[in-house]
Symmetry: C2
Subunit: 361 residues, 2 copies
């Protein structure tokens, strides 16, 4: 049924052995840097390897060694550059450790998720990274019971014995909201993310907490439920700005939403930040390129990917009996040009028409 494709008969450890006049086990020991090898022999073997262009067969290695040098990465889609940033961090850490990366996208197909986890657990990968997983409950058990190493990214672990990495979402939202309050805003709108994500919940809590801390009463009408996409941001801002008493500032749960807010503000003949201040969350690369450049809460996305990977590798390589708990990374408010004091509005026109964007970083 399956046609064999047998490529050029690959050079194996035995070819090297023959070529350099030693046994194949010696070759293996040279490859794996064993101590008791006569320098001269080592030399001869190495030589033969480069001459014949030897590359070890990873499958044979995994078969006997049990390790595949591969880690699996499960994501659900390639929305925006949020995920790209995380992957970049992962990729770097993975490459450094000489592992490879197997990619699984779920595209909202729930069922597939748990089924592939099983197959992963059986040899294909040594560990698994899950970014922003939905319905983990389904396969968390499977993973846990098998003692299969895994780390969650951007998932607020409800029980802290689940190894995970995320950002200080609540603190970040708190900082952003407090900043707006500090520069004088009293009516601050908020557009949420998709509330099934923990991060969305946490950001809302941070917003509320900062209001409370600033002596501003929470008003439900100032909160619009979004979904992390630009169009809902547009819609949300339109809704908020249509209020009888509209907000002077809008805090968006991510940068894409903020871009939608930009559009809505403009569409109504208003200006950012003179008429409406805007603050985002994430600090995706576009945030700095946009006009006016976006004041936003920076989430260390690459860092998150990198750290999660390192945690995972430690679990894989050090045969721990306990999992590694969870790590929370600090966020940072990046002040750019999209927010100013409401009182500034009047004087703002004296500034140049083309905002100077990133000068202050």
């Amino acid at each position: 049924m399956i046609t064999k494709v047998r490529r050029s008969p690959n050079t194996t450890i035995k070819d090297i052995a023959r070529e350099s006049g030693v046994s194949y086990s010696t070759v293996s020991r040279v490859i794996n840097n064993f101590e008791h090898i006569k320098p001269e022999t080592r030399e001869r073997v190495m030589d033969a390897m480069t001459r014949l262009g030897y590359v070890a067969n990873q499958h044979a290695r995994s078969l006997v060694g049990g390790r595949s040098q591969v880690i699996g990465l499960l994501i659900h889609a390639f929305d925006s550059s949020y995920i790209g940033q995380i992957i970049q961090g992962i990729d770097e850490a993975v490459a450094e450790a000489h592992y490879d990366l197997m990619l699984y996208t779920t595209h909202r197909r729930k069922i597939r998720e748990s089924s592939f986890v099983v197959s992963l657990a059986r040899g294909l990968a040594d560990g698994l990274l899950l970014v922003l997983p939905r319905d983990i409950e389904a396969y968390l058990d499977t993973l846990g019971q098998q003692g299969f190493p895994f780390v969650l990214i951007d998932y607020a672990a409800t029980s802290s014995d689940v190894p995970s990495v995320n950002a200080a979402n609540q603190q970040g939202a708190y900082d952003a909201t407090l900043y707006l309050a500090k520069i004088g805003h009293r009516r601050i709108g908020f557009i949420t993310g998709d509330m099934v994500a923990d991060s969305a919940q946490e950001r809302l809590m941070g917003y509320k907490q900062a209001l409370a801390g600033s002596g501003i009463a929470f008003e439900a009408e100032l909160v619009f439920q979004g979904d992390f996409y630009q169009s809902k941001g547009f819609e949300g801002a339109n809704s908020l700005l249509s209020l009888d008493n509209p907000p002077t500032a809008i805090f968006a749960s991510n940068d894409m939403i903020a871009f939608g807010v930009y559009e809505a503000v403009r569409n109504r003949g208003l200006r950012t930040p003179e008429d409406v201040s805007v603050v985002g969350f994430d600090d995706i690369p576009q945030a700095a390129q946009v006009h006016p450049s976006l004041t936003t809460v920076r989430q260390p996305l690459q860092e998150m990917g990198r750290i999660a990977t390192q945690m995972l590798l430690r679990w894989i390589e050090e045969d721990l009996d306990e999992p590694l708990g969870y790590t929370q990374l600090a966020t940072e408010l990046i002040v750019r040009d999209s927010a100013c004091s409401p009182v500034d509005s009047v004087f703002y026109r004296s500034r140049s028409a083309m905002p100077s964007s990133d000068e202050r970083r």
Copy 2:
């Protein structure tokens, strides 16, 4: 040096054999759907497999069978959602064929590219997909000589014996420019992509060709050299609009650039499309969400990924002696709200302030 992690002794084909009272080769044949198996035996074996939760060890399989059921994907970064769309297409096709996807990012590290190609060729993957590759020459030979299956995506094959998939960039640019000319524009600005990419070159040619076809003289001052990023779009539009005789329309080499143009137009107190018509290229998801929604040349990105994958799989599985040539996919002009006749400008204000966006699709 390496600590063994030996997980729970996995159930193998032999366990199943013992459990169901047959030999392990029979089990293997049941798994691989051989014809001469007594239905009752098959039943018994299947039963044991589900009971013991058997999953085949892929490494052992590859070792003997030569096939790893993995295909490698080489990309250089996760810019914008352009790459995401392509990956989605790839991922779907790969999943359908029950293969897995190994991800390699090069992050502008040229050297690594060629080195890993070698290691891939030795067992880890059965084939390779390269998206928008730079300096292929370096390792194209390696691949070609080894007879290792590979397909390039979004690379204009100079010699048509290189298997590749891309979009009709020139035709698409031609269509867009012609469209602008048809609705009355005579001065059409153009912002290029990164000219090291073939697609950028082709789009420029399409632009020139359409001008010629419309009896409009090409003017070098109307072409600004960009790099596919939003900030260069902003810069480029500012430059073009500062000309003594500025263009009434700007054709951007991709959607991100078009967004930059949007910003520049606004920043000068002008409006899209009333004062400056804008057309993009790609049709990334954001293009439809933006205000005004962007008229753009749709590149069938997912389709490209899917088709490239299918080509690759055919090469892998059907043991062809000849490679598969190259496939070019048609583009489609998606008319939305960002371009109108220059004469419309005067009357445009009668339209509602909030453009109706995607209604006409």
